[in-house]
C-alpha cells in the first residue's frame, strides 16, 4: 500500500528577554543550578506573577512576520500537573485567546515553495530541568530555566515528509533569529520541536492516529526521529497492528522512538484563567508601532535579491537563511555591483570554509569590504578564477586587502595581447602534433595548447584571451 505521511509541529521558542516572563529574575543561560531562581520561580507561599511586557512585544513581532491575527485581549491560564521541576504545580500558559492566531510560513523544499499554515502561537513559561545524572539514583532539580518566556508555535498538519518538517523548522528558526526574538541556540534548548506524526493510506481523507515525538533539539534528530517514526507506523500497520495515540521520546543513540506515555495516561490539565494575572490588552497603536519597527523579512528580501541582483531563487534562499548572511551579501553585492559573483562566493567558498571551521557568518575572517576588493578584481579581469581562489585563501589567513595580496604575490592576470600572442606562438611552434590534430578537426587539441600557454604564464594568462588568440593564429 502507498502511505501518506502527515506531520504537524509544535515549536517552543525561548524568547531572549533579559528577565523571566513573570519575575525580574535574570534569564542568562549557564549559571550555577538554582542561582537564577527567586521566590517566584521557587513558588514560595504568597508570591505572585507579574507579566514581563517585553514578551508581548516579541510575540507580536512573530505574529506580524507570520502574517497572522494578533489577539488584542490575552488571557493567561493555568495548566495544572505535578512534576518536581514545575514548582507551582501549574504552568502559566494561554489556552483560549492565544496572542497569535492564523498565520502562515512559506518554506522551500528542494526547489519547490510550499505554504504551511500556523494555527497559533501562545505565550507561556518554561519549566525547570530535572537532572537525572550525578545524584546517586536521585533526581536533581535546577530551576534556573523555570519562568523563561516561551512562545509555543503550533502548525497545522500540513507537512507530508520529514524533509518538509525540517524545512519548516529551519525556516521558523531563521525567522525567530531574524526578528531578534530568540537566540536560536538549539543546544541550549532555545528552540525545541515536538513533532506530531501520523500516516494514512494515500487518498484517504481522515487522518491516521498520531504519535507525538517530544523535545527534539536539532534538525538532524528531527529528521531521524520522524523518519524512524514513519517507518515504525507503516510497519506496524502493514503487520496488521494499530497505532495508538501516544507521546514518544527519540533516543539519539539508538535512533529509535520509544513510548513515554499512552493516551490513557494523558493528563487532565484542568485549564482555567489564572486569577493572579489580569488579561493583557494590546492596543492597535502598539501593534502598528511594532509593525513600523519590523525589519525586512526573509521572504521579501529573497524576492528582492532575485530582482535587484539577478541571483537565482535557490541562491537567494541560501543568502536569506540568516539575517547576518543576507546583510553581508547585500553589502558586497551593492558595493561591487556583482550580485551573482557575490552570491557564488558567499554560498560557495565562504559557506564551505565556515562550515568546515564550525563558524557562522558573524565570525567570518573576511569582512564584506575585503570580499568586495576580491570581487572587483575578478570582475575587472585582474584575477582569473584560479588566481581568485589563491587570493581568497590568503584573505582568509591574513588581514591584507585583495590588492595588497595580488601585489605581494604577483598574481595579476596577464591580459596584455602582445605578451599572450608571444606565448601562443611559442606553444604552436613547440607542439606541431597538437596543431595538426586541431586542424584535422579535433577540438580537444586546442585545450592541450591552451594548457601549455597557461603553464608558461604560471597560470596568470587570461584564459579566455588565450583561447581567442589560439583560434586566431590557427585559423
Amino acid at each position: 500500500m502507498k502511505w501518506e505521511v502527515v506531520i504537524g509541529l509544535e515549536v517552543h521558542v525561548q524568547l531572549n528577554t533579559k528577565t523571566k516572563i513573570f519575575s525580574g529574575t535574570s534569564t542568562a543561560f549557564g549559571a550555577e543550578p538554582n542561582t537564577q531562581a527567586s521566590a517566584v520561580e521557587l513558588a514560595f507561599p504568597g508570591v505572585l506573577p507579574v507579566m514581563n511586557k517585553a514578551v508581548v512585544d516579541k510575540a507580536i513581532r512573530l505574529g506580524l512576520a507570520l502574517d497572522a491575527r494578533i489577539n488584542q485581549k490575552n488571557v493567561f491560564a493555568r495548566k495544572n500537573y505535578f512534576y518536581p521541576d514545575l514548582p507551582k504545580g501549574y504552568q502559566i500558559s494561554q489556552m483560549e485567546l492565544p496572542i497569535v492566531e492564523g498565520g502562515k510560513l512559506v518554506i522551500l523544499v528542494g526547489e519547490e515553495e510550499k505554504t504551511v499554515r500556523v494555527t497559533r502561537a501562545h505565550m507561556e513559561e518554561d519549566a525547570g530541568k530535572s537532572l537525572h545524572e550525578d545524584f546517586q539514583g536521585m533526581t536533581g532539580i535546577d530551576l534556573n530555566r523555570a519562568g523563561t518566556p516561551l512562545l509555543e508555535v503550533v502548525s497545522e498538519p500540513d507537512m507530508r515528509s520529514a524533509e518538509e518538517a525540517v524545512a519548516y523548522a529551519r525556516t521558523l528558526h531563521t525567522l525567530v533569529t531574524w526578528l531578534g526574538i530568540c537566540d536560536g541556540n538549539m543546544q541550549e534548548g532555545s528552540f525545541r520541536v515536538d513533532a506530531n506524526v501520523s500516516v494514512r493510506p494515500f487518498g484517504q481523507q481522515e487522518f491516521g492516529t498520531r504519535r507525538e515525538i517530544k523535545n527534539l533539539n536539532s534538525f538532524r534528530f528531527l529528521e531521524q526521529a520522524i523518519k524512524y517514526e514513519i517507518q515504525w507506523q507503516i510497519d506496524t500497520l502493514e503487520d496488521g497492528g494499530r497505532v495508538e495515540q501516544a507521546t514518544v521520546l527519540f533516543d539519539p543513540d539508538s535512533g529509535e522512538t520509544r513510548m513515554m506515555r499512552s493516551k490513557e495516561d494523558a493528563h487532565d490539565y484542568r485549564y482555567f484563567p489564572d486569577p493572579d494575572l489580569l488579561p493583557v490588552r494590546i492596543s492597535g497603536a502598539q501593534i502598528e508601532a511594532i509593525r513600523a519597527d519590523m525589519p525586512e523579512l526573509p521572504g521579501a528580501m529573497k524576492a528582492r535579491f532575485v530582482d535587484a541582483f539577478g541571483v537565482s531563487a535557490y541562491d537567494a534562499a541560501l543568502l536569506t537563511s540568516s539575517r547576518a548572511t543576507a546583510e553581508f551579501f547585500e553589502a558586497v553585492a551593492s558595493a561591487s555591483a556583482q550580485g551573482k559573483l557575490a552570491a557564488n562566493w558567499i554560498n560557495g567558498e565562504i559557506a564551505a570554509r565556515l562550515n568546515r571551521e564550525g563558524k557562522d557568518i558573524g565570525a567570518c575572517p573576511i569582512s564584506a569590504e575585503r570580499l568586495i576588493g576580491l570581487i572587483v578584481r575578478i570582475a575587472d579581469n585582474t584575477l582569473s578564477s584560479k588566481l581568485a581562489k589563491q587570493v581568497f585563501d590568503a584573505l582568509w589567513e591574513s588581514d591584507l586587502t585583495a590588492d595588497a595580496i595580488i601585489e605581494r604575490d604577483g598574481l595579476k592576470q596577464v591580459s596584455d595581447v602582445g605578451a599572450i600572442e608571444k606565448m601562443v606562438e611559442e606553444a604552436i611552434a613547440a607542439n606541431p602534433k597538437a596543431v595538426e590534430e586541431f586542424r584535422a578537426g579535433k577540438e580537444k587539441a586546442l585545450n592541450a595548447l591552451a594548457g601549455q600557454v597557461m603553464k608558461a604564464s604560471k597560470g596568470k594568462a587570461n584564459p579566455a584571451q588565450v583561447q581567442d588568440i589560439l583560434r586566431q593564429k590557427l585559423s
Binding site: F44, N80, Y90
Partner: protein, 483 residues
C-alpha cells in the same frame, strides 16, 4: 494600658507616657497569661518583639517615627514575615520560616508597628469556625464554648481579649467580618485590589483581600492607611492615589441613604440577630440616615457559586505544597508519586482536602462549563445586583451571619451547614466590594453580634464614617469579655 485603642496608644506613645518596649511587654505578658485558654496566638518570639519595640522607641527619640510607631500588632499567620514561622494554620507549613515579608508586613514595619506574634487561623483560611487549624481551635473570649468565627478567628479573638490592640486579617468569603462579628470587634475587608496580596498565602486569588481587625472603626481607618496602597508585585493591586481613610470619620450621617436588602432579612435569620440589626438601623435613622429597601435577588446563589470558584482556585493554589522545596515532606516513600501522596495526605487537614477535591472536580474536563464557567456567570449577576442596589443607596446594611457564634464542634461534622452560614458575606467577595462588621449588640446567650456595612467600590471612607458615627453613639465596641 492593654484596654486602650490603637488611637489612644499612639497618643500615649507620642506623649511619652509609655514606651514601645513597655507596651510590647505588657501585651506579651497578657498573651502569656490568657492565650493558653484562647489559643488565639500560635507564635510568639519575645526577643524579636522587644527588638522591634526598641527600634520603634529609638525612631521616636530620633524624631523619625510615624504616628503608629511602637504600637503592637498581631499578624494573621497567612502573611509571610521574614524570620517568622508562617504556617497558615497548616501542618504543611509548620516548618516554614518565611524568607521574605508580605507587602502588608512591610507596610506595618515601615509604620513602626511592633509584631507581637502570629495569630491562629483556619488552615489556609478555609473555615468559618477556626476549628480547622493544625494548632487546634481558637476559643471565643466571650464564651469559651463558642467558636470565634473564621478564618481570622485568632485575629478577632485576640483583639476581643485585648491580647493586641489590632491584628491583620484576610477575608475570602467573610473571614474578617464573621469572626469580628462573633467576637464583638470591628473589621473591614476593603475593595478587592486595595491591599496587596503579595506575600499573603493564597487561598482563592480572585477573592482574597487583607484588612484590619481592631476595636473601633477609627482604628480600622488608621490601619487601612498603613495597609492599603499600590504594589507592582501584585498584578491585581489597583494603582490609585493614596487615600486618607480617616478623612470622613466625623461627617454627620444626615441624608445618608441606607439600603436594607430584603433577602438578608428572610427566613433563616436568628430573631436576636434580626433585632440587633434593626436597632442599629434605628440608631442610624436617628442620626439622619434614610432607609430604603433594596433587593439582591441572587444572594442565595452566592453559596454554590462561591463554593465552586473558591475551591477551584484553591485546588491549584495549593499544588505548590508538594514536599519538594519547603514545608512538610513525608518521612518514608517509595517513589515520586508516593512522596506527593503521602506528603499531601499528612500535610493537609480534612477541610483543605475536601476543597482541593471539589476544586479539582469542577475544573476537570467535561465539568468546567457546567460548574466553573456557570459560577463565574452567577458571579457577574451578583455584582450586577449590587450595582443596581447602589443606585438607590450609599451603603447597604444587614447581618454578618445568620446567628451569633455557634458552639465548638456544633457544625464541624456538617460542612454544608457551615457553608450555609456564610450566606451574607460571600456575595461581597464575589462582587469585589468592601464590607465591614461593627459590634452592635449581644444575643440571648451573651454572644456578640455585628452589623454588616457593605459599600460600593472604593467607598471605604464612607463605610468607616457610618461605623464611626455609630460607635460614637453606642458602646458595644468598647465592651470587653471578662477573662
Amino acid at each position: 494600658m492593654t484596654k486602650a485603642t490603637l488611637k489612644q496608644l499612639s497618643q500615649q506613645l507620642a506623649a511619652g507616657a509609655v514606651s514601645g518596649v513597655e507596651l510590647a511587654t505588657q501585651y506579651l505578658d497578657r498573651i502569656e497569661a490568657l492565650n493558653p485558654q484562647l489559643n488565639a496566638v500560635i507564635t510568639v518570639d519575645r526577643a524579636k518583639t522587644l527588638a522591634e519595640a526598641a527600634a520603634a522607641d529609638s525612631a521616636r527619640a530620633a524624631g523619625t517615627a510615624g504616628p503608629l510607631a511602637g504600637v503592637p500588632i498581631l499578624h494573621k499567620d497567612i502573611f509571610c514575615q521574614q524570620g517568622w514561622k508562617t504556617s497558615c494554620g497548616s501542618r504543611m507549613l509548620d516548618n516554614f520560616i518565611s524568607p521574605y515579608d508580605a507587602h502588608v508586613v512591610e507596610q506595618c514595619r515601615a509604620a513602626g508597628l511592633v509584631t507581637l506574634g502570629r495569630a491562629n487561623m483556619d488552615e489556609f483560611a478555609m473555615g468559618s469556625s477556626n476549628e480547622n487549624s493544625f494548632y487546634g481551635p481558637v476559643k471565643n473570649p466571650w464564651d469559651l464554648n463558642a467558636i470565634p468565627g473564621g478564618s481570622s478567628g485568632g485575629s478577632a479573638a485576640a483583639v476581643a481579649a485585648r491580647l493586641a490592640p489590632v491584628a491583620t486579617a484576610t477575608d475570602t468569603g467573610g473571614s474578617i467580618r464573621q469572626p469580628a462579628s462573633h467576637c464583638g470587634v470591628t473589621g473591614i475587608k476593603p475593595t478587592y485590589g486595595v491591599v496587596s496580596r503579595y506575600g499573603m498565602v493564597a487561598f482563592a486569588s480572585s477573592l482574597d483581600q487583607g484588612g484590619p481587625i481592631a476595636q473601633t472603626a477609627e482604628d480600622c481607618a488608621l490601619m487601612l492607611n498603613v495597609m492599603a496602597g499600590f504594589d507592582e508585585r501584585d498584578s491585581t493591586s489597583l494603582e490609585r492615589d493614596k487615600e486618607d481613610y480617616t478623612r470622613q470619620l466625623d461627617r454627620p450621617l444626615n441624608g445618608l441613604r441606607v439600603g436594607l436588602p430584603r433577602e438578608y432579612f428572610a427566613a433563616g435569620l436568628d430573631a436576636d440577630v434580626a433585632r440587633i440589626v434593626d436597632e442599629a438601623v434605628s440608631e442610624l435613622k436617628k442620626q439622619g440616615a434614610q432607609v430604603v429597601e433594596v433587593s439582591l435577588p441572587n444572594t442565595e446563589l452566592s453559596i454554590p457559586a462561591y463554593y465552586v470558584i473558591a475551591p477551584a482556585e484553591a485546588s491549584t493554589n495549593l499544588s505548590r505544597y508538594d514536599g519538594v522545596r519547603y514545608g512538610h515532606r513525608a518521612a518514608e516513600y517509595k517513589d515520586l508519586v508516593d512522596m506527593y501522596e503521602k506528603t499531601r495526605a499528612e500535610g493537609f487537614g480534612d477541610e483543605v482536602k475536601r476543597r482541593i477535591l471539589v476544586g479539582s472536580y469542577v475544573l476537570s474536563h467535561g465539568y468546567y462549563d457546567a460548574y466553573y464557567l456557570k459560577a463565574q456567570k452567577i458571579r457577574r449577576l451578583i455584582a450586577n445586583d449590587f450595582t443596581a442596589a447602589f443606585e438607590q443607596c450609599d451603603v447597604i446594611l444587614g447581618p454578618v451571619a445568620p446567628t451569633a457564634a455557634f458552639n465548638l464542634g456544633q457544625l464541624s461534622s456538617d460542612p454544608v451547614q457551615m457553608y450555609l452560614s456564610d450566606i451574607y458575606t460571600l456575595s461581597v467577595n464575589l462582587a469585589g466590594l468592601p464590607g465591614m462588621s461593627v459590634p452592635a449588640g449581644f444575643d440571648r446567650n451573651g454572644r456578640p453580634v455585628g452589623l454588616q456595612i457593605i459599600g460600593n467600590y472604593f467607598s471605604e471612607a464612607t463605610m468607616l464614617n457610618v461605623a464611626h458615627q455609630f460607635q460614637l453613639a453606642t458602646d458595644w465596641h468598647s465592651r470587653a469579655p471578662a477573662l
